[in-house]
Amino acid sequence: MAPLTMIEAIRDALVHEMERDERVMVLGLDVGRLGGVFRATHGLLERFGPERVVDMPLAEGAIIGSSLGLALSGLVPVPEIQFLGFTHQAFHQIGPQLARYRFRSRGRYHCQVTIRAPFGGGVRTPEFHPDAIEAQFVQTPGIKVVCPATPADARGLLLSAIRDPDPVLFIEPQRLYRRGREEVPEGDATVPFGRLRIARPGSDLTLIAWSAAVELCLRAAERLEEDGISAAVLDLRTLVPLDVAGLVAEVARTGRAVVVHEAPLSAGFGAEIAATLQEECFYSLDAPVARVAAWDSPYPTGPLEAWYLPTLERVVEAARRTAAR
C-alpha cells in the first residue's frame, strides 16, 4: 500500500471492517455527505449507503445511546463524536451506560461499540475542541481507551477496536491527522491492545506518552541526544488496558522516567503511571518519576495554547533534571 496519513489510515480501517463485516456501521454528525469534518469517513456513504453511514440529528447523547441499542440488536456501530470535548453531551450514556452494560446485565448483554473522537491541541481549534479528557474515561470501568500516535497504529488499533466485544473509546490526535505518511500494514493486520510500543530505544531515561505527546517526546529525545542523554520513548497506545509489564520492564532498565501529556496535571493519566511505577518497580528507580503536563486550568483559545501545552523545552528540562538526580 502507498504510505498513508493518519486520517487515510483510519478511513482505510473503516472501509476494511465494513467490507469484512456487514454488521459494522458508522454514525455521527456530518459523517455522510460531507465525509466528516476531517474527512475520516469520506466516500463511505457512496460505497456503503445511507443505512450503514448515517448522518445523525445533532445530539451526542442520541448518537451514543442509540449505538448501545444498535449493538444490542446485533449490529456493530462505530459512532463518531465530532470532537472529544463533546462527549460531555453524551457522558451519561458512556460512563454509566455503555461502559458498564455488560456488568449491570450480569454478562447477559455486551456492547460492541467503538466511539471515535478527535481531540488535542496545537491546531487553534475553538473552545472545547482540543480538550484532552481521556483520563475521565479511565475512571469508568468497562470501556477501553485507545490512543494511537502513528498512521500504522491508527489502522491496526482501529481494527482491534471494532472487533473487540467491549466498548472502546478511540481518540485521534487532530494535530497528527495529516502530519506525515508512513507505510501501513494492509489487510487484517491488527495491533493488539495492552502492548506498548517502543517508539525510540534509549538507555539513560524513559519518556512515556500517548497520542500526540509521543511526537513531542521524540523531538525531545533528539534534543537530549545532543546533550549526550539517551532517552527512550514509550508509546502506551492503550491506557485501558495498560501494559504494566512492558512499562515496568522498560523503566526498570533506565531507572528514570518522565511522563508527558496534554491533559491538565492533576489526576491526569500521568499520575496513574507514576503511582504504578512506584508500586511495581520502586527499587529500580534512581529518581522520582517526573510529569510534564498542561496546567490545571481550562484549555484556552487562541495564541494562549502555546503556553498551555507541554513544550519541547519543558520536556527537555524535566528529562535533564531527572537524568541528573
Binding site: L29, D30, G32, R33, L34, G35, V37, D55, M56, P57, L58, A59, E60, G61, A62, G85, F86, H88, Q89, R124, T125, P126, E127, F128, H129, L265, S266, W295, D296, S297, P298, P300, T301, G302, P303, L304, W307, Y308, E313, R314
Partner: protein, 347 residues
C-alpha cells in the same frame, strides 16, 4: 412554508399588513444588518490571512438576528448567544473593538463590559439555553426586571439540553424568549435530518406559544419578538420563535459548503436575501436610495476599521491569562504553576 411575514420577498407590504416597526426603526435595523455583513467580510478576509480565529458568518440570517434583538431593552434585558449573532451583541452594548479583540486572541481585552447584559458566546451547542432559563427564572424570583433572549440553531435544537431548557422554562413560566434560527443547515446536515416534526410546534408540548416566522423579513421578526418579549415581561412566560432563514455562507471559516450544498440552493437563498428585501421596502417608503446606502456603508466601514485599529492596539494575551480567572482564590498548586510559567515566559 414561509412562516409569518409582513413583506414578500421583493419587499412589498402584504395586503393589510401594518408593521409595528416604523421606517426609522427599519432603517436602524438595516444599518445593523449592513454592519453585520461588512464585519463578516472583514473577518473572513482576516481569517484567510491567518490573523483571525475561526469565524461563523451571519450572512443571510441578519434579519432574524437583528429583528429579534431589537425587541430588547439593553438596560434591563439579557442575551444568551450562541456564536452567530454578532449584530445582536453589538446592538446590546458589546463594543465592536472587543468583539474584534476576541477573534484576534487579545485575551482579557475581549471581556464583556460589566454593564452589558450579555453571556459569553457559546460553542457547546444548546447548553446556553439552560443557563438562559436559570437566569430568567432567577430574575423573576428576585422581582428584577428583564427578559432573557436565548439563541440557538435548528441543529442545536436536537440536543437534550434544548428539551430540558424548554421544559423547565414552561414549568417556571420563566421570562425567556427562545429564538431558534433555522438556517436549514447544521454544518453539512440538512434540516430534514434533525427532526420529523415542525420545530416551533414543540412549544405546545411545553405549554407555551411557538411561532414560525419568515426570518428574512425584519419587520415580521421584530413584531413576533416584540410580542414575545412583552408576554415575558408581563409574567406570561416563555415563547419559542422559529426563524426560517438561510445560511448563505460557509458554516465557519474552516468549512467548504461546495462539498454538500445541493445545486441551486445558494442561488435560491440569495434570491430571498433579507437585506435586499428590506432595502426595496424602504426605497418604496422613500427613506432609502443608493445615496443613503453609500453614506451608511462609508460610515460602517469607518466604524469597523476604527474598531479593528483599537483592537489591534489592545494588549496581547499574556501567559497569566491562563490562570487568572480559573478561581477567585486559586489553589496553591495553581499559583505555583503560574509562577513556573511566568518564570519561563520571562526568559
Amino acid at each position: 412554508m414561509t412562516g409569518y411575514r409582513i413583506l414578500d420577498p421583493d419587499g412589498n407590504l402584504l395586503d393589510g399588513a401594518r408593521p409595528r416597526l416604523g421606517p426609522e426603526g427599519a432603517v436602524e435595523g438595516l444599518r445593523w444588518m449592513l454592519l453585520s455583513r461588512a464585519f463578516d467580510a472583514r473577518a473572513t478576509a482576516m481569517h484567510r490571512q491567518g490573523r483571525f480565529g475561526t469565524y461563523s458568518p451571519v450572512r443571510g440570517q441578519e434579519a432574524s438576528v437583528v429583528g429579534s434583538s431589537m425587541a430588547l431593552d439593553p438596560t434591563v434585558d439579557w442575551i444568551a448567544p450562541s456564536y452567530r449573532e454578532l449584530p445582536a451583541l453589538v446592538r446590546h452594548g458589546m463594543p465592536l473593538e472587543r468583539v474584534f479583540a476576541g477573534y484576534l486572541g487579545r485575551g482579557k481585552a475581549a471581556r464583556i463590559p460589566d454593564e452589558v447584559r450579555l453571556l459569553p458566546n457559546q460553542v457547546a451547542l444548546a447548553t446556553q439555553l439552560q443557563h438562559a432559563v436559570g437566569l430568567a427564572w432567577g430574575l423573576a424570583l428576585q422581582r428584577k426586571p428583564g427578559v432573557v433572549m436565548a439563541y440557538c440553531g435548528e441543529g442545536a435544537s436536537s440536543e437534550g439540553d434544548f428539551h430540558e431548557a424548554c421544559n423547565l422554562a414552561g414549568v417556571k413560566r420563566a421570562p425567556v424568549v427562545f429564538v431558534l434560527i433555522n438556517n436549514q443547515w447544521a454544518i453539512s446536515t440538512p434540516r430534514s435530518v434533525q427532526s420529523a416534526g415542525e420545530l416551533y410546534r414543540r412549544a405546545e408540548g411545553y405549554g407555551f406559544p411557538g411561532v414560525q416566522v419568515d426570518g428574512n423579513d425584519l419587520l415580521a421578526v421584530y413584531e413576533v419578538a416584540t410580542e414575545a418579549v412583552e408576554r415575558a415581561r408581563a409574567g406570561e412566560g416563555p415563547t419559542l420563535i422559529e426563524c426560517l432563514t438561510h445560511r448563505q455562507s460557509f458554516h465557519n471559516t474552516t468549512d467548504n459548503p461546495r462539498l454538500y450544498l445541493p445545486e441551486g440552493w445558494l442561488e435560491q437563498a440569495e434570491r430571498e436575501d433579507p437585506i435586499r428585501r428590506l432595502e426595496a421596502y424602504l426605497a418604496a417608503q422613500g427613506v432609502w436610495d443608493d445615496g443613503v446606502r453609500a453614506a451608511v456603508e462609508a460610515e460602517i466601514a469607518e466604524q469597523i476599521e476604527g474598531a479593528l485599529e483599537t483592537a489591534l492596539a489592545m494588549p496581547a494575551a499574556r501567559p497569566e491569562d491562563l490562570f487568572d480567572d480559573v478561581y477567585a482564590d486559586p489553589p496553591e498548586r495553581l499559583r505555583r504553576q503560574r509562577e513556573e510559567l511566568l518564570g519561563r515566559a520571562g526568559d
